[in-house]
Amino acid sequence: MELTIKFVADGLKKARYITNERVETAIFLALTLEKPLLIEGPAGAGKTEVAKVLSEMLETSLVRLQCYEGLDEARALYEWNYQKQLLRMQADEAQGLRWEEVSEHIFSADYLLERPLLKAITAPRRVVLLIDEVDKADEEFEAFLLELLSDFQVSVPELGTVRALERPIVVLTSNRARDLSEALRRRCLHLFIDFPGVEQERRIIELKVPNLDTRLAAEAARFVASVRKLGLRKPPSIAESLDWTRALLHLGVKELDTEAIRAALGVLLKHEDDRTKVESRASSLATRPR
């Protein structure tokens, strides 16, 4: 399998992910240079989706680590399987083995519980490792990721260094809840995924909501794009705009007029103040010149 930009572009298309040159190039480089890819951008612009699509494209499995505050090594990397170790010790004791022999056994790979990071590294074939919302994790954890991301190896004190058999494809996503450290950024390729433009969104809507009238799809895309420009508390994500167009479809909307906008707005906007803001401008948004 030769890796070319065309292969990436086709793969994304086949996985039903509509995107632009920027994303294609970044993914292609992440695969070619074998570097982790750090994706930033507003919530709901399709960051996590990249990893899923990648695993689909390369026909490999996706190992996902969801970050949260207080995430530690035991839950991200590995933990010793205490129960099994205890059982082993008791069994060995019954056989009258000496401690040196026992301890040799119980700190081996058999007694290791693999958490996502270790699993991704020790996987026999190349997997996609998604470290989701890395900005939610603590800074200590970020520092701990550095070894993994630059050398694709981790240190387990009792076992030594575990090196990746096949370098996983690493995708990190961040919502910028806080700034990531320079050290982490330096080790990654960077990709900023913004909300799609009108045209791109139209294509996404047409692809994912195939029953919708093409003209309405274009109008919906234009409407969502202008809503995003209003500076709302939470601008609608792609998933929400898809839900919204589906709602339009089920409501039997033929034309995107003020009535239609009001009817399903709750699917698109999740804050009361956002809703009132858009509703007050519904007429101007609806009668936007075609």
Binding site: T4, L29, Q83, E139
Partner: protein, 420 residues
């Protein structure tokens, strides 16, 4: 090969000039990326962006620099060259998008050798004119999908050169730029507030961001790490079950987020104004570490302080030319104590205690300290001057819970961490 590398090197130098921080590792990545992605203009731009721009805020200057630097040459029909990518970059063979579009060129860049770049006598103005006047052309080229012909080796380097020359000599200044900036910021961290200029105050405010984060982490971490205190039996036993009933690991009650109310009183009279504003901003940034934060400023009266889009707003407005009188402020505070003070309140006072020889009313502080969690005084004045002239700090010192010098950003941070 060498030419491309040199070009990219110069481009990166320009990015650094434009304020982007590009490390050596990143520039190596960039070269590998270009080798892999090929020289088609848009691809190359995205490849460089992915490796060199690690913050979306830097994207605009990057695009601008790219547009300026990788302008297509002002072409006569014969001058456009299609560099043989295989010849230019041996390593790129794998990653080429459309190899067919680039007919092999047998003599790559022979001219370059004839005319060494650095000694190029091209008139800077002319060369720059060529590169800057070509955006239309390059746009057209980009739209048409024609691969970017690598900039004319004669015109462009001199153009780049001239730009660099404008900004001063290239390399040494590059290395120095970041270093100087860092050194300057370090210096500001240590510079006494009293010696600030307005410009330095603005720079100090930029420094607050990382400081704020550090402060939050330090205060926050103490909440998170429970490694002493009350043992949580339920969790200890549960953890013990894993180890066959051996209680090998004690689990502790996670400390609750502390119910601390912070009451910050900051003197904003001229002498300590910068210190006060920085403290107010710092504490405002860390407000979610506490249950409630109320900030007041004073000169001779109390006024609630609020940050609105980075600007300090006080209500009621204060007379900035009044003479400091902390005694009167204390009287006001003790009148409002039922509203402002609880047993959980941590009172942080920032000021130089220069009272214009008016009554200090240290007895009121003693009373306040008894009613609330603690009273901490941060004094931005140089400790050598404490107690001289009209300074009443020696009267306040014994009655507050703790007194910290906080003459610069460093000390201020340390004092706040210790206080909170």
């Amino acid at each position: 090969m060498t030419l491309l590398r040199e070009q990219l090197g110069r481009f990166i130098a320009q990015l650094r000039n434009a304020g982007l921080r590009v490390s050596v590792a990143e520039s190596i990545d960039a070269m590998n990326a270009v080798a892999a992605a090929g020289l088609a203009r848009d691809r190359m731009r995205e490849a460089l962006a992915a490796t060199l721009v690690k913050d979306e805020a830097d994207r605009a200057p990057f695009d601008e620099a790219f547009g300026r630097f990788f302008a297509a040459p002002a072409t006569g029909p014969g001058r456009r060259r299609h560099p043989d990518q295989r010849g230019v970059m041996e390593s790129s063979a794998r990653g080429q998008g459309r190899p067919g579009e680039n007919p092999p060129l047998r003599e790559p860049f022979r001219e370059t050798q004839k005319e060494p770049l650095r000694d190029n006598p091209a008139k800077p103005g002319e060369a720059r004119g060529a590169s800057l006047s070509s955006p239309n052309l390059k746009e057209r080229e980009a739209r048409g999908g024609v691969p970017l012909s690598l900039v004319d080796p004669r015109a462009e380097p001199s153009a780049a050169h001239s730009v660099v020359e404008e900004a001063g000599s290239a390399e040494p200044q590059q290395a120095g730029l970041e270093g100087t900036r860092m050194a300057h910021l370090r210096e500001i961290e240590r510079r006494p507030f009293a010696a600030y200029t307005d410009l330095e105050y603005d720079q100090a405010r930029e420094l607050l961001k990382p400081l704020e984060r550090r402060f939050r982490i330090r205060v926050g971490r103490r909440l998170r790490m429970a490694c002493r205190g009350r043992v949580d039996f339920r969790r200890t036993i549960r953890a013990g079950i894993q180890r066959g009933g051996v209680l090998a690991e004690l689990k502790f009650r996670a400390r609750r987020p502390r119910h601390v109310d912070v009451l910050l009183l900051a003197d904003i009279s001229g002498s300590v104004r910068y210190a006060a504003e920085l403290t107010l901003e710092l504490v405002a940034g860390a407000r979610n570490c506490f249950r409630r934060v109320r900030s007041f400023v004073y000169i001779d009266r109390l006024a609630e302080a609020e940050f609105e889009q980075g600007h300090l707003v006080t209500s009621p407005p204060l007379d900035l030319y009044a003479r400091s009188d902390f005694g009167r402020v204390l009287v006001e505070l003790s009148k409002r104590q039922t509203e402002l003070l609880t047993r959980q309140t941590l009172v942080v006072i920032l000021g130089d205690a220069r009272n214009n020889r008016r009554p200090a009313r240290a007895d009121l502080i003693r009373e306040i300290a008894r009613r609330c969690r603690a009273v901490v005084w941060l004094n931005p004045e140089d400790p050598a001057r404490w107690g001289t002239g009209d300074s009443a700090i020696n009267q306040y010192g014994p009655v507050v819970t703790a007194l910290y010098p906080s003459g610069n950003l460093r000390e201020l941070e340390k004092a706040l961490v210790a206080a909170c």
